[in-house]
């Protein structure tokens, strides 16, 4: 702070000094006045007495007084206690240059944080494409419209037979999954390879188809069969797995 003629700083009068407070501070800082000789208590008392005598509190002036006076207090405290730590703790072995670099680094960090805060408040953010269904399985690989059309034609042909589900008294409707699974297992034991179409017969009902399919899934889970479907909507082939399983389960030949 530099003193200019006509300073607006509060006027103070203590032993050895009479004038604006900022001039006093400047003279102390320049060591033209020994801070130890300035009675800060008297200075504060004198100023407070003057302020109390005023009709209204000069807020701006009081604020300036506090700022200037507190610096004088700090200077006096440091004169009285030379070992008093400076503003920022200096680590052991940290040079003044290091400390200065650290202060600059932190000030820069605050600036950067403020700049990031401004960006955040501006709300100009980006969004990326959110999750959704995995695209690795959809659409099914190898799909073609011809196969779909063939499957639909098959459905239409079944519908054209004129029998509705409720009109049929299909044996499958009376079957439990366990029964049907047992039947399929027996068939697979006789024939190494079967097709899903064979298992369904000529006029399958929805219920029979479902029971058959669940039976197949159960056998597959139990490693009794292998299932293959070479193309979409194509025939499902069921193969007995016993032979391979036997081979796997067979004890390894003993080494000589």
């Amino acid at each position: 702070m530099s003193l200019v003629p006509g300073s607006s700083a509060p006027h103070v009068a203590v032993e050895g000094f009479d004038g604006p407070l900022d001039l006093l501070l400047e003279m102390v800082e320049e060591k033209r006045i020994d801070i130890l000789t300035v009675r800060l208590g008297d200075l504060a008392d004198e100023y407070l007495a003057r302020v109390r005598a005023l009709a209204a509190l000069p807020a701006a002036e009081v604020a300036e007084f506090l700022a200037l006076a507190s610096r004088l207090v700090l200077l006096k405290a440091r004169s009285l206690l030379p070992s008093l730590a400076p503003d920022l703790p200096v680590e052991e072995g940290e040079s003044e240059e290091d400390l200065r670099a650290r202060i600059i680094e932190y000030a820069t960090t605050r600036e950067r944080a403020a700049a990031l805060g401004d960006k955040l408040r501006a709300g100009s953010r980006a969004f990326h494409r959110e999750g959704g269904a995995s695209v690795t399985d959809l659409p099914p690989r190898g799909g073609d419209s011809g196969a779909l059309a063939a499957a639909w034609a098959k459905v239409l042909a079944l519908a054209a037979m004129g029998q509705r589900e409720e009109d049929l008294v299909a044996p499958g409707e009376r079957y439990s999954v366990e029964q049907r699974t047992g039947e399929i297992e027996a068939l697979v034991a006789l024939h190494d390879t079967l097709t899903f179409g064979t298992l369904l017969g000529d006029r399958p009902t929805l219920g029979f188809a479902i029971v058959t399919f669940i039976g197949l899934l159960d056998l597959y889970r139990r490693l009794v069969i292998e299932i293959a479907q070479d193309e979409l909507f194509g025939e499902i082939t069921i193969m007995r797995k016993t032979a391979r399983m036997t081979a796997v389960d067979a004890p390894a030949p003993e080494s000589a």
Binding site: A107, R112, G123, A126, F127, R129
Partner: protein, 175 residues
């Protein structure tokens, strides 16, 4: 303007990708050289300038994101709330963003305070993440910013971090 086949291929792949795709992967998919892919990415980046999309990258990984100017519309559609970060967390985030990869001790050395809580908060908001461990005594965890950080601050890459003036009047670039 007609775009090159590589740029078109890259755009299609990045459009369906749910996560950033590396330049090497793009080169493999497009059957092009890394240099050709780099040129195509620059081409695509320029193409997006006047659109509602941007190309965002961190290192060699790329993704398509919405343009920051469209944020309020997209946020309205997604029902996204505006992110709020305390000033203490912003300071920690600034250290991590500009000095990454950085350890907690380094953040604390700069800020001069314990940063456990702010690091936890920033991690839980997915603004920073662990980047591995530094091969020094104690093997401290190193932290870096995330893709979400780039998105939340509307940055296309870390090179876009705001430049600030130091107390000494120097322009500080991201380090």
């Amino acid at each position: 303007m007609t775009r090159s086949p590589n740029a078109i291929a890259i755009e299609a792949v990045l459009f369906v990708a749910e996560k950033p795709v590396s330049q090497a992967e793009l080169a493999k998919i497009a059957g092009a050289s890394p240099r050709a892919i780099e040129a195509a990415l620059i081409e695509l980046e320029a193409h997006y300038e006047d659109t509602g999309l941007r190309l965002q990258h961190e290192g060699d990984d790329w993704q398509i994101v919405t343009a920051p100017e469209t944020a309020r519309f997209v946020a309205a559609y997604l029902g996204a709330d505006r992110l709020r970060v305390s000033s203490a967390s912003l300071e920690t985030l600034a250290v991590v963003a500009y000095r990454q990869p950085v350890t907690r001790a380094e953040v604390e050395a700069i800020r001069g305070v314990n940063c456990d809580q702010t690091i936890y908060t920033l991690m839980s908001r997915r603004l920073i993440e662990e980047r591995g461990r530094r091969e020094t005594p104690g093997r401290p965890i190193e932290y870096g910013t995330t893709w979400e950080f780039l998105e939340c601050f509307g940055l296309t890459s870390l090179e876009g971090l705001p430049r600030v003036i130091t107390p000494e009047g120097q322009v500080r670039l991201p380090e």
